[in-house]
Symmetry: C2
Subunit: 312 residues, 2 copies
Amino acid sequence: MTLHIGMVGLGRMGGNMAKRLARAGVAVIGFDPDADARAAFAAIDGCQSVDSLEEMVHALPPMRVVWLMVPAGEQTEATIAELAPRLHSEDVIVDGGNAFYKDSVRRAVDLASYGVRFVDCGVSGGVWGLENGYALMFGGSPAAAREIEPFAKILAPAADSGWLHCGPSGSGHFVKMIHNGIEYGMMQALGEGFALLKGKEDFELDVAAIAEMWRHGSVVRSWLLDLTADFLREDAELADVAPLVADSGEGRWTALEAIEQGVPAPVLSLALIMRFASQGKGEYADRLLSMMRNSFGGHKIEHTAEPSGKAK
Amino acid sequence: MTLHIGMVGLGRMGGNMAKRLARAGVAVIGFDPDADARAAFAAIDGCQSVDSLEEMVHALPPMRVVWLMVPAGEQTEATIAELAPRLHSEDVIVDGGNAFYKDSVRRAVDLASYGVRFVDCGVSGGVWGLENGYALMFGGSPAAAREIEPFAKILAPAADSGWLHCGPSGSGHFVKMIHNGIEYGMMQALGEGFALLKGKEDFELDVAAIAEMWRHGSVVRSWLLDLTADFLREDAELADVAPLVADSGEGRWTALEAIEQGVPAPVLSLALIMRFASQGKGEYADRLLSMMRNSFGGHKIEHTAEPSGKAK
């Protein structure tokens, strides 16, 4: 019996996940608000696109599984609001986006009023997931979790590893949130370490060669180090890369979770805060410190090159 | 032609490295101040023990390579002081311990006055190195580095990976120091993340299963996570493990290096500081804060169970 799934959101993540499912013989019905994305998707073997969520519901055999890979927040909220009344009892919505876990707890309750089951699923693996498989961590009732297991076994790196039903609704996105919090800390640790290697100018260290060497037998070997070795091999100076790091929900939520639990997570929190600093959000404080040093000690103030305007 | 090497220090690291070399056909002459360690070593195939450094020098054919795996600091200093005058011109001392890189720069200069060449070599891999191989990062002149390459190719996970001549004297221990600094940050990030998983009591998360799942396809997959998954599988509560984390030189030196360079490494520094906190070194500050809260707000002071003594 052919497995069917509806995939909503055919971007970098959803599109690749659909491809991985289709390659394994799953019939994937895809929808994306963008017509070009739909057309590109329809050209993939085993994939069919539809022009609306309504049409998707009709195209899927019952007990429908609709997997959302849309941005967390308003778009997820709007998609679920449009989808829920069209689905039938026992159908399953999987939210594979990076939603805040408390939203997922609420959505599971809300959807239950339609008889629709909800699974919150954290997905890790980025653009490499298509080939390597994705780590999947999901939350929901045992019955609902069982419905998505056949898909998890295909999306994961192997049928018996890389996926987990973590617990009740919200727990999938909770575990993904903590995963990303750890990711922030690991990235910052690697970033700071390589900055100190680069900063030791008299040794003229080849940071690309060091990254590659550490991949073999060292304690810090990791997938993030593998990626770092790859891009440093191409360009170790990174002069063209702006020193500005975006942050997203999970890093902030992890820091807030630590405060809510009253459990110290200073490194995860500081890794987040260093991203704020990279975004220039600490500049007003720096200007203020510079003025204070001038006020009490007469220390020189450096002036900005641009004409004076509103300070960041 | 058989390769010969002298190994000084036959503990967990030196003993296993000697075994890995002997398995590959290297004739290993070993010395350890402890007679039992020497006897155990002599029983290994391809290994021979000697009763003094003097005897080791006589037992090795020229151009001698003597590899030290002794604790950094006084023991390394004393061993080199005893060994140097006994060695001959062009002989090589390799310090495979975790010495401070500035000591290694100084030792290379000091040993040059004896005509003895010095290679500082950071070794990573812990107790798993015997089977998996060690990551080796070494510093010294190109000629001296070439002398130890045949051994590096055996000790590393593979002949063509996991070892690197990083640069001049001191650079091997410098790179190892930064490696360990990164290790501190990664460990703390994982520790904090798992604490938040454990702290989310209403989800009753299986942290061992989560660690195992993350090993496959996630962004945080790493050797440290592999080890974590292994020990959590045996015991996820860790109730018998004292929450006290030792620190060693490299973590402190990394934080000092950041200050010396004037380059921010807040996460690596904080990971170190959290180990100090785990050692109870922050308790006087905590007592003080408790007293202040009592002083200005009348907040209750908790009293220690033990009779009053000298506060930590």
